[in-house]
């Protein structure tokens, strides 16, 4: 589903973010990318959704080398990815419903289809009763559930999550992880960057450890350390 082949990433200022990174993620896997802050986790995710290009090496998603895509092809790639961020990135002047619907509107779906799908996905994340609330009327956990709903509404086969629990308390973080587990069990491939030890240790999934831009370990059924 996702493959990195000898990927090197230097930023413009000469900072080395990733050094000779290679790994493969199969369909339906749940993979944690772990490591302290500034070790390259976010860069790795950005390479998957083509926010950044590698300096060297190949990134293959769904069998396609995405380093060679044209801009309209990048848009097509992103329609197959759901992306969730630590800071939720919701539009403050739109309701929960509108935030989720926005992801479908900009792809040109009909109103009827939008209504059906948004309703369904809000039901899955348990926010149907808060459809008309604005983000500032929601708790952190509810905001993150909204952003997950937005990521899922177009049925992407891959979900990318960059520290999705970073801004949440322990209880809410678990709630979010329960969702992600459920989504994963329905076949969605999940790549999640985190430095939350408890979660990684308890979930017992594949763990890729990054340190100074290098993969230092890649364990199935792994733990944080």
């Amino acid at each position: 589903m996702i493959e990195f082949r000898n990927v090197i990433k230097y930023y413009g200022n000469g900072v080395l973010a990733l050094e000779d990174v290679s790994f493969k993620v199969e369909k339906g896997e749940f993979v944690f990318i772990v490591g302290p802050t500034g070790m390259g986790k976010t860069t790795l995710l950005k390479l998957i959704y083509r926010e950044e290009l590698p300096t060297k090496g190949k990134v293959i998603v769904g069998g396609v080398d995405i380093t060679r895509l044209r801009s309209y092809q990048v848009a097509l790639l992103r329609r197959r990815l759901g992306i969730v961020f630590q800071d939720f990135r919701l539009l403050p002047n739109r309701t929960v419903y509108e935030n989720v619907a926005f992801a479908m509107e900009v792809l040109g779906y009909s109103k009827k289809e939008i209504r059906n799908r948004v309703g369904r996905v809000l039901d899955i994340v348990g926010l149907l009763h808060k459809s008309n609330c604005y983000p500032n009327e929601l708790s952190g956990g509810e905001q993150q559930r909204t952003s997950i709903a937005r990521a899922l509404v177009n049925n992407p086969p891959i979900l990318i999550a960059d520290e999705p629990t970073g801004n949440l308390d322990i209880a809410t973080s678990w709630e979010i992880m329960e969702f992600l587990k459920r989504i994963n069990s329905r076949g969605t491939t999940i790549v999640m960057a985190t430095h939350n030890k408890e979660i990684v240790n308890a979930m017992r999934q594949r763990v890729i450890g990054l340190y100074n831009g290098r993969i230092v370990r890649d364990e199935y059924n792994g733990s944080y350390e």
Binding site: A75, R79, L81, L91, L107, G108
Partner: protein, 293 residues
């Protein structure tokens, strides 16, 4: 899909305009203000230009006739002159009439009239031209006509007016061009600034894989709408100012009261279209800066 996307673009543009009301109003207000200024500059340019043109088109060529010209000779001469290209009107001034005018002009100056004594003036034609550019052509054509004693061509004044008008045109055009540039710069920046709060929107659009028209459409249309509303308000204010100016100020300066070719409809249309164009350009600049490739 096509109908859907048009609906979506209209909806989103309208939503953008009405949700961030303060920045939209500010943008529309500044656009209106710039367009009023632009209109005023254009109007003044037009007024000055038309005034000069009006004055110079009043220039006349005077033809003095031989003393012993018979009535039918005079008539055929008049017909010949009238048929010259560029001649608008030929008026016969008999010597008595000319003398009467002369005496009228020097009414206060008895000495002049005493020295001159009897009427020394010949019969003449006053030739009005279609416009000042024919002055050389017509005076050349008159030169060889029989029955003419002398020709008085205000060539010197015509030439001076011509070069003055040329400079006014060049200067005015430059001022207007600079002003168009300045308003383009200011308006497009105002639009851009009113969009800054929406960079996140743009980001999310790109992250969920929206393409071309779905991202650009609403923003461009919103900029165009801002320009449209700014243009409507600007044109209304501008026309009101022109009305007041004509009514209370221009009427006390007869020099300027020559008909200008100012047309409220076309100039309003021009302002609105210019506002829309610049609004669209502002949006395009914003998108160019913030859309990642």
């Amino acid at each position: 899909m096509r109908v859907l996307s048009i609906g979506y673009i209209l909806r989103e543009a309208w939503r953008g305009l009405t949700r961030a009301r303060i920045s939209s109003f500010a943008a529309i207000g500044i656009i209106a203000f710039m367009l009023v200024l632009l209109g005023i500059v254009g109007y003044i340019f037009n007024l000055v230009n038309c005034t000069f043109a009006g004055v110079s088109n009043q220039l006349e060529i005077i033809v003095y006739l031989n003393d012993n010209l018979k009535a039918e000779e005079r008539k055929s001469l008049k017909d010949n002159i009238t048929s010259i290209e560029g001649v608008k009107e030929v008026v016969y001034i008999p010597k008595n009439e000319a003398w009467k005018r002369f005496k009228e002009t020097f009414k206060g100056n008895k000495l002049v009239l005493e020295i001159i004594g009897e009427n020394p003036l010949p019969d003449s034609f006053e030739i009005k031209l279609i416009d000042r550019n024919y002055i050389n052509y017509v005076s050349e054509a008159l030169r060889d006509m029989p029955g003419i004693k002398d020709i008085d061509v205000p060539l010197d004044i015509a030439n001076r007016l011509n070069s003055l008008i040329k400079w006014v045109e060049i200067g005015g055009t430059l001022v207007i061009l600079v002003f168009i540039g300045v308003s383009l710069f200011i308006i497009s920046n105002v639009i851009r600034l009113s969009f800054v709060s929406r960079i996140r929107e743009l980001e999310i659009m790109q992250l969920v894989g929206a393409t071309g028209i779905f991202i650009r459409g609403p923003f461009i249309l919103e900029g165009v709408l801002c320009g449209f509303f700014g243009g409507i308000i600007g044109a209304m204010v501008f026309n009101a100012l022109v009305y007041l100016f004509n009514r209370y100020i221009l009427s006390s300066f007869p020099l300027f009261s020559t008909a200008t070719n100012f047309n409220p409809f076309t100039s309003s249309l021009g302002l609105v279209l210019f506002g829309m164009m610049v609004g669209g350009i502002g949006s395009a600049i914003f998108l160019e800066r913030h859309l990642k490739r």
